[in-house]
C-alpha cells in the first residue's frame, strides 16, 4: 500500500479534521458495520485505537443534531462495531418513494449467502473465519426472511454453534435443481493457487 497517503496524525488525542472526515467516509462507503480493528486496517495500522475512538466520538458529535441519521454502535460477536444508520424518522418517506428502488444484495450479503450455499452446513464462526469480519446479524436476518437460509440444527462442539444451510426456495429462486448445479470451485481454486 505504498500509494496510500494517510493524513498527518499528531500524537495528541484530539483527532485531526482529516481523520474525522476519512472515518466518516469509510463508515459510509463500506456496507457493513466497522470495528476498531477494521477501521485501523484501513486508516493505517499505526493509528492508536484511542485516537480512533476519539475520532468516532467526533463523528458521532457531528451527526448528533441530525434528525435523520446517527452513528450507531453495537456488539457483534464480542466486538463493538460502528455504522451510520438512518433513524426511524426516515421510514415513512422511503415508503412513499419506493417505485424507483431496485434492491440489491450487498457484497457482504452475497458473500455470506455464497458461503452458506457452497459450504453448508456451515456455522456462523466459519463464515466469520472465511470472510475475516464478524457476521452482521442484519444480513443473516435478511437472508432468513427472504426464505433462502435456514437453521440445520446445532453442532455438538463448544458453544453449540448453529449450522446454516440453504432452502428449497433458494434453489428455485436461483433456478437450480440441486446444489450440485453450482459451479464446483474447488478445482478452480486449486488452479489459481498454481498460477499465482
Amino acid at each position: 500500500m505504498t500509494d496510500k497517503v494517510p493524513p498527518a496524525m499528531p500524537t495528541g488525542s484530539e483527532p485531526p479534521e482529516g481523520l474525522v472526515e476519512l472515518v466518516e467516509a469509510l463508515l459510509l462507503t463500506v456496507d457493513e458495520p466497522l470495528s476498531l480493528e477494521a477501521l485501523g486496517a484501513m486508516v493505517g495500522q499505526e493509528t492508536a485505537p484511542e485516537l480512533l475512538e476519539a475520532t468516532l466520538a467526533r463523528v458521532a458529535a457531528r451527526w448528533e443534531s441530525h434528525r435523520f441519521i446517527e452513528l450507531a454502535s453495537r456488539e457483534i460477536g464480542g466486538r463493538r462495531v460502528w455504522h451510520l444508520v438512518a433513524t426511524a424518522a426516515v421510514a415513512p418517506y422511503l415508503k412513499a418513494g419506493d417505485p424507483g428502488r431496485v434492491p440489491k444484495l450487498s457484497r457482504a450479503a452475497l458473500e455470506t449467502l455464497a458461503l452458506i450455499a457452497w459450504r453448508q452446513p456451515i456455522t456462523r464462526g466459519e463464515i466469520e473465519a472465511a470472510r475475516g469480519v464478524a457476521v452482521n446479524p442484519q444480513i443473516l436476518k435478511q437472508l432468513v426472511e427472504r426464505g433462502w437460509v435456514r437453521s440445520l440444527g446445532v453442532k455438538d462442539s463448544p458453544g453449540r454453534p448453529e449450522m446454516l444451510g440453504t432452502t428449497r426456495e433458494f434453489l428455485s429462486d436461483f433456478g437450480l435443481n440441486s446444489l450440485a448445479e453450482l459451479p464446483d470451485f474447488e478445482r478452480f481454486a486449486g488452479q489459481d493457487d498454481i498460477d499465482v
Partner: protein
C-alpha cells in the same frame, strides 16, 4: 491471412538482417531486465507494429513494408533472445509481412473490373492496423472515464429497521462472483482445512440434517437411496462421516452389520439466532 510461410521465418531466425542479432536496436539503451519487461508489454503483433510506425513517424497508409518488416523481425529476435515466449500470432505476422513485401516487388495484380486502382498488397494490413489503433484509443477513453469503485464510491447508511426489507431478486451471477472473489483472496481456503467435498456431498449433508429435523433419530437406511447406485451410497457415507466428524450428529450400531441409527445431537433447528450476541 497467409499461414503457409510461418515456418520459413522460423528457419531464418538466427540470421536476422543477414547476421546474428547481438546488439540492441539503437534506441534501446535500457537495462536488460527492464527491457524484457517493456517488451513483454506489447499486446501482440499489431501493437508492436503500431509502435514501430508511430516511433518512426510513418504514414500508416504508406507503410514502407521492407523497412518495417526488418525492424519487426529485429524486435522479435530481441524478444526471443530475452527468452520471452512469443505467441504464434507474432510469427504469423512475420510471415504475412514477408508475403506483402514480396508482393510489393511484383507488378500489381490487375483488378477484375479494372476501373479502380490496382489493389495495394498492404490494404488489409493497413485496415487492421487502423482498427487496432481505434481499439487502443477507445480503451484509453474508457480508462479515463470516471468509474465507480475507482474514482467514486457509492455511499449508504443502513435503512431504518422499521422499513420492510424489499424482496431482493436472486442474482446467480453475483453469487458465483462473490464465491469466486472469496476463493481468490484465499481466505476461504485458509479457513477450511477440510478436504474439499463436492457439492453433492454438501447437499446430502443438508438432506440428512433435514431427516433429523423433527425427530431425535433415524435409521441410516432411510437416508440411503439405493436407486442412486454406488456413487450415491458413497456420497451418503461420506456425508454421514463428515457430519459425525464435525459433531453435527452422532450414530450408533448395536451389533456388527446391524442397522445404524443416526442421532440428532441437541436442540431442534429453529429460526437461526440472529440476535445480537452469539457465543463464539
Amino acid at each position: 491471412m497467409p499461414e503457409t510461410d510461418s515456418r520459413r521465418w522460423v528457419d531464418a531466425t538466427p540470421r536476422v538482417s543477414g547476421q546474428p542479432l547481438e546488439q540492441l536496436p539503437l534506441d534501446l539503451y535500457i537495462p536488460a531486465d527492464a527491457l524484457a519487461i517493456w517488451l513483454e508489454q506489447f499486446e501482440g503483433p499489431l501493437d508492436l507494429l503500431l509502435y514501430l510506425i508511430r516511433k518512426h513517424n510513418i504514414d500508416i497508409l504508406e507503410i514502407p513494408v521492407a523497412r518495417v518488416t526488418e525492424q519487426y523481425l529485429e524486435y522479435l529476435a530481441l524478444m526471443k533472445s530475452m527468452a520471452i515466449e512469443l505467441a504464434a500470432e507474432y510469427l504469423l505476422m512475420a510471415a504475412w509481412l514477408a508475403e506483402i513485401k514480396s508482393r510489393m516487388l511484383l507488378p500489381p495484380e490487375p483488378r477484375e473490373d479494372d476501373e479502380e486502382e490496382p489493389l495495394d498488397p498492404r490494404a488489409e494490413l493497413v485496415e487492421r492496423l487502423l482498427e487496432y489503433e481505434r481499439t487502443t484509443r477507445a480503451a484509453g477513453l474508457l480508462d479515463e472515464q470516471p468509474r465507480r469503485g475507482r474514482d467514486w464510491f457509492d455511499l449508504s447508511v443502513e435503512p431504518p429497521e422499521q422499513l420492510p426489507a424489499p424482496a431482493v431478486p436472486a442474482d446467480l451471477a453475483g453469487l458465483i462472483a462473490a464465491m469466486n472473489g472469496l476463493l481468490r483472496e484465499g481466505s476461504v481456503r485458509r479457513a477450511h482445512h477440510v478436504r474439499a467435498e463436492g457439492l453433492s456431498i454438501r447437499q446430502r449433508m443438508t438432506d440428512i440434517l433435514d431427516a433429523l429435523a423433527d425427530r431425535r433419530s433415524c435409521e441410516l437406511a432411510e437416508v440411503f437411496h439405493p436407486e442412486e447406485g454406488r456413487m450415491g451410497v458413497a456420497v451418503t457415507t461420506v456425508a454421514v462421516l463428515e457430519l459425525s466428524r464435525t459433531h453435527a450428529l452422532d450414530w450408533s450400531q448395536e451389533q456388527p452389520f446391524g442397522p445404524v441409527t443416526l442421532f440428532r445431537l441437541a436442540g431442534s433447528p429453529s429460526e437461526p439466532a440472529v440476535e445480537e450476541e452469539m457465543p463464539r
